[in-house]
Symmetry: C2
Subunit: 123 residues, 2 copies
């Protein structure tokens, strides 16, 4: 779905609200407006690379929701084309390939670190 | 950090706002209030399993932000204890272990699917 009318048909929200939301996403660089016909003038909305790169965020949110807020089971499942199976996404280390979870990592300051977030925490 | 005063020292927000936010997270089951002393009565806030399971969501959001909104580099990096390297989390298939991205998957209805989200999209 890339066209205004199709978004509206699916979402059933007011024209001005949808317009506002799409503009917001365009400003954020997540989608872009692409002219696909000059006569008559017509545009649609396509995901940018920045938008496509939100897939891991949405996937992680969806899986968390499926685990904690889907009493009837997941509304949507994802099949991995390469292996053909219904698949969950799991996080692994980009270096060694081992599983990554909160307990497996240590946070360190990166190059963009600003001053410590911490004031002086009381003991 | 688990104690009210320490959250406040770090976040520097008003007492009532912090209280409200912590209560909201307790109601959502993301943290829980745990009594750690009876005399004097003292409690702190601990992540629940539901809260810890938000780590993949936060990690995916952090990495997206590092890519698109961190001109000075990541403020925070994560070292994988097992291999010792600064590590990105990557998504792989829980079944075959292959990389997962938006283009590698097909969405299907799950057991909790409600009626199609779609009205009748115009052609």
């Amino acid at each position: 779905v890339t066209r205004f009318d199709d978004f509206q048909g699916r979402l059933r929200i007011a024209h001005n609200i949808l317009k506002q939301r799409l503009n917001h996403l365009v400003e954020a660089g997540v989608i872009e407006k692409v002219r696909y016909s000059d006569h008559p003038p017509r545009s649609d909305y396509r995901l940018t690379e920045k938008g496509r790169d939100l897939w891991p965020v949405l996937t992680a949110m969806r899986q968390w929701g499926d685990r904690y807020a889907a009493p009837d089971g997941p509304p949507l499942q994802v099949a991995h084309e390469a292996c053909g199976h219904i698949s969950d996404a799991v996080l692994v280390c980009s270096v060694c390939g081992g599983r990554l979870a909160a307990r497996d990592v240590r946070a360190t300051h990166g190059p963009g670190a600003v001053e410590p977030l911490v004031g002086t925490a009381k003991p």
